[in-house]
């Protein structure tokens, strides 16, 4: 059975590693740029959660839909989004994916099935449910995946969506990335019970998974995707992971007090999904140190190229472009 798969080829394992590291290095650069004042707006980084996005998106094609969150760079990249266009968008430039109209919280590429990041917590849940209805009507086996956080799980729309998706047997997967925080509030202070249990009253499939273990995520995703493609309806997944960075970069400059301890952060950094996966590759002799170094170098080249592209792209022409996409 495909969804039980554990014996991935060396190539596939390296591809997982590359996909996760690519998100990490691009975002580290975005973090640096934000600190340096090169980015006009707020950025919310996905650092620490990469195994979830990659575990799901590595099994999708451009015909499948994903909707993401304000923490959306990782999903965009994992689904095949271009890093240059992402970087230029975050820089607010004409060469950006949305020509500077959207910014960090609205990167989207519909040609790749990326409905986009979203600035409204939980908004992607309903949109993906609608895209999944469209996929069901098309009858070609496409699926929709809504990524959202534990904060969004407290929006009523999740219950509404699970209800209608289960009734209509929609090919949709609700992936809650429980990263421990609802903006600046620890989950335990705002969330009752287990999020994964919220599928139970609707009779919908559900599963909790270690969101820092790429292989575990991949297997869980494979089961849910198969269920969706086979017409068996939705799955709610709670991937437990950790937001290593703040809710928003630069939060230390305006928060009066801490909402978590340094020890807690250090504990989770020790469980970072990427070095763990690299070690797994080396231990199983599926890759050599030089393979990993080569990937690192390639990615750093891509990051440098993305920054160069963004920096040299002009700002949109404010004389002519402020209303150009209204009622296009």
């Amino acid at each position: 059975m495909n969804q039980q798969k554990t014996n991935f080829s060396n190539e596939q394992m390296l591809a997982f590693y590359r996909d996760m590291l690519r998100i990490r290095r691009v975002e580290e650069q975005i973090g640096k740029d934000a600190k340096a004042g090169n980015i006009p707006g707020a950025v919310h980084l996905y650092i620490g959660q990469e195994a979830v996005g990659v575990g799901f998106c590595s099994q999708l094609s451009d015909d499948d839909w994903i909707a993401s969150t304000h923490r959306g760079h990782g999903h965009y990249l994992a689904k095949g989004g271009d890093s240059k266009l992402l970087m230029a968008e975050i820089y607010g430039r004409e060469g950006g994916m949305c020509k500077g109209h959207g910014g960090s919280m609205h990167v989207a590429d519909f040609s790749k099935g990326i409905i986009g990041a979203n600035g409204i917590v939980g908004a992607g849940i309903s949109i993906t449910t609608g895209a999944a209805w469209a996929a069901q009507l098309d009858g070609k086996g496409a699926v929709g995946i809504a990524f959202f956080g534990d904060g969004a799980a407290n929006q009523g729309v999740l219950c509404e969506a699970i209800n209608v998706a289960q009734l209509w047997k929609l090919p949709v997967i609700f992936v809650c990335e429980n990263n421990g925080f609802s903006e600046f509030s620890p989950s335990s202070t705002v969330t009752a019970g287990n999020i994964v249990d919220r599928a139970k009253p609707y009779g919908a499939a559900h599963e909790a998974v270690d969101g820092n273990d790429l292989i575990a995520v991949w297997q869980c995703a494979a089961r849910a995707i198969k269920r969706a493609r086979d017409g068996e309806g939705p799955t709610l997944i709670e991937a437990r992971t950790y937001r290593q960075r703040g809710h928003v970069e630069a939060e230390a400059s305006f928060l009066g007090s801490a909402y978590r301890t340094d020890e807690e952060v250090a504990e989770w950094i020790a469980r970072d999904p990427i070095p763990a996966f690299g070690k797994r590759l080396l231990d199983a002799e599926q890759a050599t140190r030089s393979d990993l170094d080569r990937i690192e170098k390639e990615i750093m080249g891509e990051v440098a190229e993305a920054v160069r592209y963004a920096e040299t792209s002009p700002y949109p022409d404010s004389a002519n472009q402020t209303t150009s996409y209204m009622f296009a």
Partner: protein, 328 residues
């Protein structure tokens, strides 16, 4: 030409368009049995393209966005316009902004349907005229048909428009009849119609108010007062040119709107004319609207608040410098 009821005209248009274009899908609360009659018979004819929804406006308005983004032309029936407030996030934050935020990557053909307005003791939560709220969103067109012929022509245009369109039917007017052309008509969104000709005063009336305004115009004509009555038919886009041209000719303006006065369509139209036709004005502009209260249940109270023929005629006499009369 054939005489048809408003609701029948809408129903026949939906049947006709759905038969021609299998990308059109329709969903909403009780659309199969159809409370108002506008979606009656569609389920039997179009099967899975027509679906009853749970009472879940939050997910519903967002599903419309997702299904439209995924390639369908979506008719989302919200039943009462007041229920759109419950589903407002996906209307205000998603549908109205997605095309712009993503630099026109996709078309978003959605028709949000709902009935609006008072006059039937439906009380405060089923009687709002909420079009001004949508006018301020920026990315949503707003159609308010006043006759069966306009309903069919505007709905046809709305379904095929690449942008989200609010199609608001006057609640108490579904049973009204009017002549509908036999050949299929498309009325371009943003084109006003002149309902009654006259040279003394320009009157702009919106949606259900057109009928009362027309009655007032006909009575005033008998007294030798010429009213040019303009029905903008859509308030976004607004045919400002047609209104301004008339105001420049008559020098006087009365605007009749069923919305509450503050930030109503009437106040916007008054502002546009004060701004761009100031030197043509011979008298202050008068707005005939609903005071800034919730509509009450009891018939005499409700009747006292809604614009009626008498109040409209008084406003016309007032801008002409004639004393308003108690009864017209």
């Amino acid at each position: 030409m054939a005489k048809k009821r408003m609701i029948q005209a809408i129903n026949e248009t939906l049947h006709g368009e759905m038969a021609k274009d299998d990308k059109i899908i329709l969903f909403g609360e009780d659309v199969e049995i159809s409370l108002f009659g506008d979606t009656r018979g569609l389920k039997d004819k179009f099967g899975t393209r027509v679906r009853n929804m749970p009472i879940s406006e939050t997910v519903m308005s967002g599903m419309a966005v997702g299904a439209a983004a995924a390639g369908y032309k979506v008719v989302c029936h919200m039943m009462f316009g007041n229920f759109m407030y419950t589903g407002f996030d996906s209307i205000a934050n998603q549908a109205s902004k997605l095309r712009y935020m993503t630099a026109g990557q996709i078309e978003l053909p959605i028709v949000y349907m709902g009935v609006f307005g008072g006059g039937r003791s439906a009380a405060a939560q089923h009687s709002d005229a909420m079009h001004p709220m949508f006018m301020n969103l920026g990315g949503i067109k707003v159609a308010l048909p006043a006759t069966p012929a306009d309903a069919t022509g505007l709905l046809r245009a709305a379904i095929h428009d690449p942008n989200p369109v609010m199609f608001l039917q006057a609640a108490g007017r579904g049973g009204e009849s009017g002549e509908v052309p036999d050949e299929e008509q498309i009325i371009e969104l943003g084109k006003a119609s002149t309902v009654h000709e006259g040279n003394d005063v320009t009157m702009v009336a919106i949606g259900a108010m057109v009928r009362s305004a027309l009655r007032a115009a006909r009575k005033l004509a008998k007294d030798g007062i010429g009213v040019e009555l303009i029905d903008p038919r859509t308030v976004v886009p607004l045919d400002s040119e047609a209104i301004l041209a008339s105001v420049r000719r008559t020098g006087r303006l009365v605007v009749v709107d069923e919305a509450r006065d503050m930030c109503s369509a009437a106040s916007h139209i008054a502002a546009v004319c004060a701004d761009q036709a100031f030197y043509a004005l011979k008298a202050p502009i008068r707005r005939v609207t609903v005071p800034d209260v919730a509509l009450p249940y009891s018939p005499p109270l409700e009747k006292a608040l809604l614009p009626n023929e008498g109040r409209i005629a008084d406003a016309v006499r007032e801008v002409l410098g004639k004393k308003a009369v108690e009864e017209v």
